[in-house]
Symmetry: D2
């Protein structure tokens, strides 16, 4: 059974995602999930990602990534990408991200992103407005 | 101290690798290491990668990937990519891959690749000619 | 004034499209229009692109491309991509493709694609079912 | 006969460049030539590209691009990329870029790049130190 996440977005696997073996080239999966996180920040957390990086000079680089590719995806497959917040730290968040096609799990990722100043590239505290929005996506409701 | 690997290749971080934050876009790191593995197969294992995929219809998809990004890389940085074979299984291999700039470790990856038939996308035994060449790159010499 | 095309699709400019200068990295524009042509074939011409390449072994490589980048696009911009068929030949088609943000033209492309057999990579006649569907998107109705 | 250029760099076509049809995905050709221009600026013009963009805040976006893809390239092909300066304007340059494998021309590109301030994204005069270095690569010597 595949995991259903509180934030999900459909995606069609495209020619541009695929390699000479006819399946998704794995770095393209990471581009897809980067786009998913961007949509989540803009549409679900309510902070336009371009504004976060541009005007607010706040980045969200990835510091740790653990991926299991459990089944292949081919050009034309309609898949669902989704995310859950596993942990909210002081300066970082841990996301569980999945790709499924119906009930078949294609990929599972655990990704740690840290908030940084784009001027210094040093870690900063999670901005207050983002923190409360993020906590609504944790797998267990905050108490 | 950064890890020095038995197979290494220098690389300059380019404009095309970098994102609006001015640092390497992390999926581009995975393209770089895919190229590194390709060079290792062609140049160190002695089997042209294009021939492996083309004529021999043998693929090496990634099934598991664990990345730690320990320091940022910027456009223009001259880095060294390297790999060591951690484990040789029946149908798969586990690689330790690193990116360093001099003594500074930038990234550490553990990647599991499985050998497959490109006709069925099913796992196959590691081809005999590759197996013996691969074992020369294990961190401990096989006994 | 920007050109409005008979086939259009909205797109948000993303982090992954942009370069260290904070604007679209021009090769990413070509990935976007490749996706647009794929959507047009699948959704407007009624032939699933994955089926065309996979089961029917028919490719549509680009043989000629002329791009004018008339204004920059930044992360977060909501743009419209569109296409018109300029010419239908025996084995190739010429497309006019544009990217606009409202009334502002961002890019204009003329692209020639040829139909090929993926077994021989040689040009073939445009498949009959595609030809009639394509002609409905010419700027002037065929007489 | 293929064109030989005054600035040339060898390149091996890789898995990551190729599409499900097993040939170079055309946007990847544009990434390759962007890297070529970067190498030319850094190594032949003598201005580190990262320094031009970073410290000097000077960009070189593409405003016009005309590509003819004359023969396909496959994974494993060893090709030569090269460039000649066709025209040096006040704020822009026109390059002729080619990809050949031995005597076989694979691609011909005419690319116009404009010099810009990365703070305003407006065109600026070609920096004096770059101008004289660029003129040494014109197809006809300046009089």
């Amino acid at each position: 059974m595949a995991t259903v996440h509180p934030f999900e977005r459909p995606l069609r696997i495209r020619f541009a995602h695929c390699d000479p073996a006819g399946i998704v080239f794995f770095p393209q999966y990471l581009v897809m999930i980067n786009n998913l996180v961007e949509d989540w920040v803009s549409d679900a957390l309510g902070v336009p990602y371009a504004d976060l990086l541009g005007r607010r000079r706040t980045g969200m680089p990835t510091v740790s990534l653990h991926c299991e590719f459990t089944a292949i995806s081919r050009m034309g497959d309609d898949v669902m990408l989704g995310l859950t917040v596993e942990r909210v730290g002081g300066k970082s968040i841990t996301l569980q991200i999945g790709c499924r096609r119906g009930d078949e799990q294609r990929m599972v990722i655990r990704q740690v992103l840290v908030f940084t100043s784009l001027d210094t590239h040093r870690a900063i505290d999670i901005p207050t407005d983002l923190r409360s929005a993020i906590e609504r996506f944790t797998s267990k409701a905050p108490t």
